[in-house]
Every structure is written in structure tokens, then in C-alpha cells.
């Protein structure tokens, strides 16, 4: 078959491949160029910069803590939403997703209005020594706020796919509701839960807007990139950005490989 004939026979596929290629390049080109155009010497120097390493470490750590908190508080809600029908359920499902659409700087300000020093929750936590302004706790709640929808949605879909009757059978065999949950529903939804955790963690790492409003310090990597860009210019901001991209991509790839291990 000639090339032209092949094209005319597969017009839809060819068109879609070209369009798909376009958007793929759009995503990959800036990332690739930034990584490959950077000078190895400068990159090494950046790695040695304790402020940079501290910021990246803090980012990964804060995102991890927020994912753990999200896991503890989000999984029960995801399970409830998957298993029960109650008035207002649709509303709750909608509201949980609101952080995805709210501009993140606005989200940061909203959080400040609840967890700020002048407000009730902020004051309550202050009595036990936790403040959310310019603190690690502030970074974490900002990350939780913007990334929790990813975990809840994914876990909810996972629980929905588990046949309710599996739990029912478990109950007749002597399992309490807790045992049925931990031995049947949770392991069966685990893949979706893990995927949700990874998404939440990744989203936490990439958060900038809400964090910068609530806690400029301690400085997470996205804020550091911004600061270097503002004070010293592009050349100083780029190596940190490259490093941040590399670390996130590597960790993301490893986690996805774990999560999808054994998939056909």
C-alpha cells in the first residue's frame, strides 16, 4: 500500500495522531529543554546549596505529611460517599471538589480567614502551640486543602467498584463491620486508594499559590524558585526549577510503577 493510500484510508487516525503529537510536544518541550539546556556544573552547585536542598526536602516532607493526614481523614469520607445514600450527598460531593476550581491564592486567603491568628480555629490551635501562619503547619494545611479532592474522588471510585455483597458475605461469616472493611473493602479498593494518594502527594508538591499566602516561610521549593526569579532573575531560578522537576518526576515514576505493578 502506498503511503498516500494509507493516509487516505486512515484519515481519522492520522489526524488524531498529528493533533495528539502537537499537545504532547507542548507539554514535553519546555520540560525537556529546561533539563537538557542546563549546565551540569551549575546544577551541581545548586544541589550543594543547602537552602535549595532544604526547600526541596521540606516540599517532599510537607506533601507527605499532608497526604497522610488526607489519608486518615479522607478515606472514611470516601467510603461513606461510596456506600451510603443520604440527603445532601450530591452537595457534599460537589463541595469536596471545589478546591480544584478555586484559584489557589484565593484558597490561601480563605484558609487564612479560618486558621489566621485573629480567627477562632487559629486561636484554638494556638493554645496548644500550633500556628498556621509562616509555619510548617501552614504549608501542610494549604497542601491538604488543594489536594484532598484527588484522594477522596479516587478512593470513592475504588470503594464503589467493590461489590457490597462481598461485605455482606463477610458479615454472615462472622466479620464485624470493621473487619469487613479492613479485610475486604479496603484491600480491594487499595489500588485506587494508592493512586489517589500519589495524586494527592504530587499535587501537594506542586502547590504554590495557597502556600505563599499562608506561609512564605519556611520556604518550600516552588516559593524558592519564585523568590530567586524575582530577586536574581531567570538564570538563578532555572537550576532549582530543573532540580525540582527532576526530583518530582523520578519519585512520581517510582510510585506509579509500584501502584500499577502487576497490571496487565
Amino acid at each position: 500500500m502506498s503511503f498516500l493510500k494509507f493516509i487516505s484510508k486512515n484519515r481519522l487516525t492520522v489526524t488524531f495522531v498529528l493533533l495528539g503529537l502537537l499537545i504532547f510536544l507542548f507539554v514535553i518541550l519546555p520540560l525537556a529543554k529546561m533539563i537538557f539546556a542546563s549546565d551540569a556544573g551549575i546544577l551541581w552547585e545548586t544541589i550543594l546549596d543547602p537552602e535549595v536542598r532544604g526547600a526541596i526536602g521540606l516540599t517532599l516532607y510537607a506533601a507527605l505529611i499532608s497526604t497522610l493526614v488526607g489519608f486518615l481523614l479522607g478515606i472514611p469520607l470516601a467510603y461513606l460517599l461510596a456506600r451510603h445514600n443520604f440527603p445532601g450527598k450530591r452537595l457534599i460531593e460537589g463541595l469536596i471538589d471545589v478546591p480544584i476550581v478555586v484559584p489557589h491564592t484565593a484558597a490561601g486567603i480563605a484558609l487564612l480567614f479560618v486558621f489566621g491568628k485573629r480567627f477562632f480555629l487559629g486561636q484554638t490551635f494556638e493554645t496548644v502551640g500550633i500556628t498556621f501562619v509562616d509555619s510548617l503547619a501552614g504549608v501542610i494545611i494549604a497542601m491538604i486543602f488543594v489536594s484532598i479532592p484527588f484522594l477522596i474522588d479516587s478512593a470513592k471510585e475504588g470503594f464503589k467498584k467493590v461489590d457490597v455483597r462481598l461485605e455482606k458475605v463477610a458479615r454472615t461469616l462472622g466479620a464485624s463491620p470493621w473487619q469487613a472493611f479492613f479485610r475486604i473493602s479496603f484491600p480491594l479498593a487499595w489500588r485506587s486508594i494508592l493512586a489517589g494518594n500519589i495524586m494527592m502527594w504530587a499535587r501537594g508538591i506542586s502547590e504554590f499559590g495557597a502556600v505563599i499566602i499562608l506561609a512564605y516561610h519556611p520556604m518550600i521549593a516552588p516559593v524558592l524558585v519564585y523568590e530567586r526569579f524575582e530577586t536574581y532573575g531567570l538564570d538563578y531560578a532555572r537550576p532549582i526549577a530543573v532540580l525540582l522537576i527532576l526530583v518530582s518526576v523520578i519519585v512520581f515514576i517510582i510510585l506509579r510503577a509500584i501502584a500499577y505493578r502487576g497490571d496487565k
Binding site: D163, R165, L166, K168, V169, A170, R171, T172, L173, G174, A175, S176, Q179, R183, I184, P187, L188
Partner: protein, 349 residues
């Protein structure tokens, strides 16, 4: 053994109400009803898995109405098996034993016992998704009985299986019931299945319990229009099969001798589908081996089709279209001939 008293369950679209029944110790009890009659929900209510609106349930003299399902000692086997997909066959079976805190020794003994009983010892290390329908059914049964429940609930256990496996599993269920002496409550929409397995049958429909009795009672003396319709649109007989000197195998019932296509000897049930019986005013010469004269005793009008009962005896229900009904001019009391093939007579235990 188990007593259900004035049970009502809300099914959203309709209500199952005033269900009262008693199942005796060691009985094989069938709940028979059309699809969508709420049979599965009734089982789940008895197991404590579905909230009931009102009524009471007693198990061995103790009221269990508000008791959690894990404390009732009632096992359930669903139509599509519902095995735990993330656990091996062995772990599926051992699940209930672990929940009931049995020792490792005891677990092994019981697994071996149940695996041997059901002939699934070679499947223990397989994953559920690698099993055939019949194998899954056996594993589900093993998982349900290994905890030695006081009552076993089975939900349409045969309808998801192919005809050959059906027969095997049906046999398996009867064996299980005999060897263990366990009380079984089995729901089905299949009349033949009900008659083949049940010591007693409860017919439910229109959200109510219509009749309870032995298969013979239900079939011979339906107490309501609903049960009558359910029974009358099916020809089921109890009789004897034997081989004649002519070489034919016949099924003898109420003095009539039906020629059948299968070799058999002994007491059986036989069924003939009403749509496979021809009605004519003169005897028909054809390849069909069974042709009998009789009298029309009853006509049930179902719109485009009618069920005509012809007494040979026994009484045979025949389905005819309205067109042929009017063309032949059938009416009660008319003498007619019924014709059906030997292969239309289906023999079952």
C-alpha cells in the same frame, strides 16, 4: 428452627409484607416466586443484612430480629457466588474460621473436611477468577458451610449455570443436605428446581406469601389464582418410568403412558412445556409418538395466547394462540386430541 413472623420489608419500588413462615429443623425449604418478587431481599433480611420494616425472626427459639449478621450463624450463598476476588480459594474458605477465632489445627481440619466433601481439594490454591461457574459455586458453598451455620441460605444457586453443571450442582445440594442434615432455605423462580429439591415450598408473589406446602400440595391444590397461574402454565407430574418389552421407555402417570426419549427406570418427575403440545379435533398422524384423547376442562385467557387444560387424565396444560383457538373452535367440555413428541417429556428427580 427458624420462624419468620409478620415480616415486612421496604424494597423502594414495592413492599414485601406480612411474611410469616416456619422452617423445620433439617428441612430443605424452597421459596418460589417470579423474578423481581424480592426473594433475595427476603434472604438478606433473614440474615440481618437488609433492614426490615417490621416483624420478628426467631432462630432455634431465640429472637434474632435485632442481632448483627455476624452473630446469627446464618450463611448465605449468592447466585453469582461473590467470592472474595483478592483471596485464594483456601483463604476464601478459611475466612469465616478466622473470624470465629479457631485454632490453626482446627482450621486445617475443617478445610480438608469441606474440600473433600465438595471435591475441591485440587482447587485450594487457585484464584477465584480462574474457576469455572460450577467450581465457584462449590467454593461458595464450602465457604458457607465450613463455619457450620445453623441455617444455610442459597439464592438461585442453579440459574447462573449451564444445564449440565446445573444438574450436577443440584445433585450436590441434595447430597449436602442429606449428609450434613443442615437446614437449607433456597430461593428460586424455577418450578422444576423447587419440586426437585424442596421438602416444602413457599410461593411468594405480589409482595406477599401466597401458599406454603409440599410440592404436591402446591401443585395439586393451589389456593389462589396467583399460585394456580404459576402452576397451571406448567405440566409437572410425579410418576414411574419403565422400559417396556417393545423397547420403548414409558412414563406412567394416572394410568396414562407417555413415551419418553430417555432411558430411565424408577420414580421421577416429568415436565412437558405447554407450548410443545398440539391440540386437534382429530388424531394426528405424525412423527410425534404421544397422542391421547381428552376433554377440555379449563381455559385460561392470557390475551394473545391461551392455556387450555385437557383431561386425559392426567390434566395437561397446552398453550395455543388466539388465532388457532378460534379457528378450531375450542370450548370447555369439548373432546380433543393432544399430541407431543417423546423428546418433549423432560424427566427429572
Amino acid at each position: 428452627m427458624i420462624e419468620v413472623n409478620d415480616l415486612s420489608v421496604d424494597l423502594g419500588e414495592f413492599v414485601l409484607k406480612n411474611i410469616t413462615l416456619t422452617v423445620n429443623e433439617g428441612e430443605y425449604f424452597i421459596i418460589l416466586g417470579p423474578t423481581g418478587a424480592g426473594k433475595t431481599v427476603l434472604l438478606e433480611s433473614i440474615a440481618g443484612l437488609y433492614p426490615i420494616k417490621s416483624g420478628k425472626i426467631w432462630l432455634r427459639g431465640k429472637e434474632v430480629t435485632g442481632v448483627e449478621p455476624e452473630k446469627r450463624k446464618i450463611s448465605i450463598v449468592y447466585q453469582d457466588h461473590v467470592l472474595f476476588p483478592h483471596l485464594s480459594v483456601k483463604k476464601n474458605i478459611v475466612f469465616g474460621l478466622k473470624m470465629n477465632k479457631t485454632t490453626a489445627d482446627e482450621q486445617n481440619n475443617k478445610i480438608n473436611w469441606v474440600a473433600e466433601l465438595l471435591g475441591i481439594s485440587n482447587l485450594l490454591h487457585r484464584r477465584p477468577d480462574t474457576l469455572s461457574g460450577g467450581e465457584k459455586q462449590k467454593v461458595a458453598l464450602a465457604r458457607a458451610i465450613v463455619t457450620q451455620p445453623e441455617l444455610l441460605l442459597v439464592d438461585e444457586p442453579l440459574s447462573a449455570l449451564d444445564p449440565e453443571t446445573r444438574e450436577k450442582v443440584q445433585h450436590e445440594l441434595r447430597q449436602l443436605h442429606r449428609t450434613l442434615g443442615i437446614t437449607i432455605l433456597h430461593v428460586t423462580h424455577d418450578f422444576e428446581e423447587a419440586i426437585a429439591l424442596g421438602n416444602r415450598i413457599a410461593v411468594i408473589g405480589e409482595g406477599r406469601l401466597m401458599q406454603v406446602g409440599t410440592p404436591e400440595e402446591i401443585f395439586r391444590h393451589p389456593n389462589s389464582e396467583f399460585v394456580a397461574r404459576f402452576a397451571m402454565t406448567r405440566n409437572i407430574f410425579h410418576g414411574k418410568a419403565e422400559r417396556k418389552s417393545s423397547g420403548d421407555t414409558i412414563f406412567r402417570v394416572d394410568g396414562a403412558e407417555f413415551i419418553i426419549a430417555k432411558e430411565a427406570d424408577g420414580t421421577y418427575h416429568a415436565s412437558i412445556r405447554p407450548e410443545e403440545i398440539l391440540i386437534s379435533t382429530e388424531p394426528i398422524r405424525s412423527s410425534a409418538r404421544n397422542c391421547f384423547p381428552g376433554t377440555i376442562t379449563h381455559i385460561l385467557d392470557k390475551g394473545s395466547t391461551l392455556y387450555v387444560t385437557v383431561n386425559i387424565p392426567p390434566e395437561l396444560s397446552c398453550m395455543v394462540t388466539r388465532h388457532s383457538f378460534e379457528e378450531i373452535g375450542l370450548h370447555e367440555g369439548k373432546k380433543v386430541y393432544v399430541t407431543f413428541k417423546a423428546s418433549s417429556v423432560h424427566l427429572f428427580d
